[in-house]
């Protein structure tokens, strides 16, 4: 059947199971095609690596060297002073205790936000996948469509709600905001995962008399560990990199690292210390970069989860 259709399309083609040479055709390593291919990829890689290189190199130079040299040249004398200064002495406004304050603020914001947002979203996703009630899909649709609404549209109403609750400007308030805006993507992630699990599993547990929470904690949670890791990667980098919510919903003493970094680098007073700025920038980027390099493929899976619908 298969063969005959091919034969009618291409009458002069040989039979498909042609007993030809086995294995890959040997290819010259330095063919023109390969030079083009790897050349193009290499050039692109250079473009992507350049800023990281410039950051590192600049942060290891002293200011006199920066003033005379060019930004791409490696440091003649390596100094770690800019790093120390960025961490412990750089000034934002009146505070001169460096980025360390922002770092700890970010940690204080990130850890509870990640836990709360993932806890809520995983239970939501589980309810949507296995315990659907009337109207659940409607709420879910609003949630997903809401993910595309620009934040600027919803910021002020949230400010008012938080103010009414007495949470505006507090850490709790910011945690609530992160949980709200992380919900669409995380709920989608968990719902799709739980939907993909075999239904028999859920039914068997039901027959055995397990209830909503029992099935969640004893069956779904242990099975969903990989997706929890993906969600964590997503949230850790997302919340660490957030700027807008940090500016709007916290007071200056609670500013996260990104906000403080921006204030340090873009402050108009004082002499610009580019090496300190770059060290501070690297320090701020270090956490998500660390997560990225450690998590590898899971990171890709996390960002693809937002894009590829299940």
């Amino acid at each position: 059947m298969d063969k005959s259709t091919i034969a009618t399309v291409h009458p002069d083609m040989p039979a498909r199971r042609y007993p030809g040479p086995q294995g890959k055709r040997p290819r010259k390593a330095l063919s023109g095609r390969n030079i083009m291919l790897y050349g193009a990829l290499g050039l692109a890689a250079l473009y992507y690596l350049l800023p990281l290189y410039v950051m590192v190199v600049t942060s290891l130079k002293g200011m006199p060297e920066i003033r005379v040299g060019n930004i791409f040249s490696p440091p003649l004398e390596i100094t770690f002073e800019p790093w120390v200064k960025a961490w412990a002495q750089a000034c934002t406004g009146l505070n001169c205790d460096g980025l360390s304050r922002g770092f700890w603020n970010s940690v204080k914001i990130m850890v509870p936000s990640v836990i709360v947002s993932i806890a809520i979203a995983s239970v939501n996703g589980y309810a949507l996948a296995n315990w659907r009630f009337k109207g659940a899909d409607l709420f879910f649709t609003i949630l997903i469509v809401g993910a595309f609404i620009p934040y600027q549209v919803m910021i002020y109403p949230i400010v008012i709600v938080l103010r009414e609750l007495g949470l505006y400007g507090t850490l709790t308030g910011l945690i609530v905001v992160h949980s709200i805006f992380g919900m669409p993507i995380l709920t989608l992630l968990f719902r799709n995962y739980f939907v993909s699990l075999p239904e028999e599993l859920f039914k068997a547990a039901r027959i055995d008399g397990a209830g909503f929470w029992q099935i969640y904690f004893r069956i779904m949670l242990p099975m969903a560990l990989p997706i929890f890791v993906v969600a964590m990667i997503l949230q850790v980098t997302g919340i660490w990199n957030d700027f807008l919510f940090g500016v709007v919903f916290t007071r200056p003493e609670n500013y996260p690292m990104t906000v403080q970094l921006n204030n340090i680098v873009n402050s108009v007073q004082g002499v610009k210390e580019y090496n300190v700025n770059m060290a501070a920038t690297l320090l701020t980027g270090a956490v998500p970069l660390f997560v990225y390099f450690v998590s590898g493929r899971l990171f890709v899976r996390g960002i693809a989860a937002g894009a590829v619908k299940g």
Partner: protein, 306 residues
């Protein structure tokens, strides 16, 4: 629209306590329900309603019709930011799709070190817009950055100072944005390419179609859903652009690199002109709706029927 009124009585027998069926699930979904209804739906409606008022320091319900919108579209700063968004948006869409696809196609040639290349192309995506903006601010610094390096090589009249030149500042931001975001597009495209049946390639090769034509006329049309998804992701990110501009130029020089999101923020939290901020953010919402509604209709409306 159906003309025939539905007169048949409800056939389902209603249980007395429907609200309490599946109660745990409903309780567990309260955060989702509150978020979607109160924040996403309610908040959006609230902003739209208050954009028709003359709220200044505090939101007040004294309606003034479309005054705020008229004022908005007469404000040069808003026009600049819309223009910037349009330029940035169109170029960013084109370049990220083209660069992302070309990189993905190169990566799909059964190359060695694929993981290394992917790691390199994607790492900027892990960094925040603030970090991205500050790095490129430094690289594009005319005194020390690319311009001075090229000049020191002998080409002394070379000028490339996008962040200090009103006319091209938006391209400086575009360069940084592309550096940060194309890795993601590449990843999505690569996933799309990997999803294409190997037999298509074999058939094209048998028919003697050159590779570039196979990509252009067979593979890309087949990847339509991937392109659409990517487009929606990029587009909704474009409308939101804020942090990058704040970090890289703070909207400057002057107001030359202003964008709508920054306009909204400044009017809401600094100029204490809430009405303007609400009107501007409603326009942002409209911009997103133009992209999202047709997509959502095709995507979800189609699936329900299918």
């Amino acid at each position: 629209m159906t003309d025939i009124p539905v007169t048949s009585p409800a056939t389902k027998a209603r249980r007395p306590n429907r609200l309490f069926r599946n109660l745990n699930s409903k309780v567990a979904s309260i955060p989702m329900i509150v978020t979607s209804v109160v924040i996403f739906l309610g908040g959006t409606l609230w902003t739209v309603v208050y954009s028709f008022t003359s709220s200044k320091l505090l939101p007040r319900l004294n309606f003034v019709g479309i005054d705020q919108y008229e004022r908005l579209w007469a404000t040069p700063r808003w026009l600049v930011s819309i223009q910037n968004l349009a330029t940035y948006g169109i170029l960013s869409l084109i370049f990220s799709l083209v660069i992302g696809f070309v990189l993905a196609a190169l990566m799909d040639q059964k190359i060695r070190f694929e993981n290394t290349f992917r790691t390199i192309f994607l790492y900027p995506f892990a960094l925040s817009f603030i970090v991205t903006g500050l790095v490129w601010q430094w690289i594009l610094n005319p005194e020390f950055g690319v311009q001075s390096v090229v000049r020191s090589l002998g080409w002394t009249s070379f000028t490339f100072d996008p962040l200090y030149n009103e006319d091209i500042v938006i391209y400086g931001i575009l360069i940084a944005a592309l550096w940060q975001g194309t890795g993601l597009v590449m990843c999505l495209m690569l996933a799309g390419l990997r999803g294409i049946d190997e037999d298509i390639w074999k058939a094209a090769r048998v028919d003697g179609i050159p590779m570039w034509r196979t990509y252009l006329f067979i593979i890309i049309p087949m990847m339509r859903p991937v392109f659409v998804t990517t487009l929606v992701i990029i587009a909704s990110g474009i409308v939101r652009i804020y942090d990058l501009v704040v970090a890289q130029t703070s909207g400057g020089p002057g107001i030359a690199s202003d964008v709508p999101a920054k306009y909204v923020y400044d009017y809401m939290f600094f100029a204490q002109n809430l009405g303007q901020g609400f009107a501007a953010s409603t326009m942002m919402l409209l911009a997103v709706a133009i992209v999202i509604v047709p997509w959502a209709y095709l995507e979800f409306g189609g699936r329900k029927r299918g």
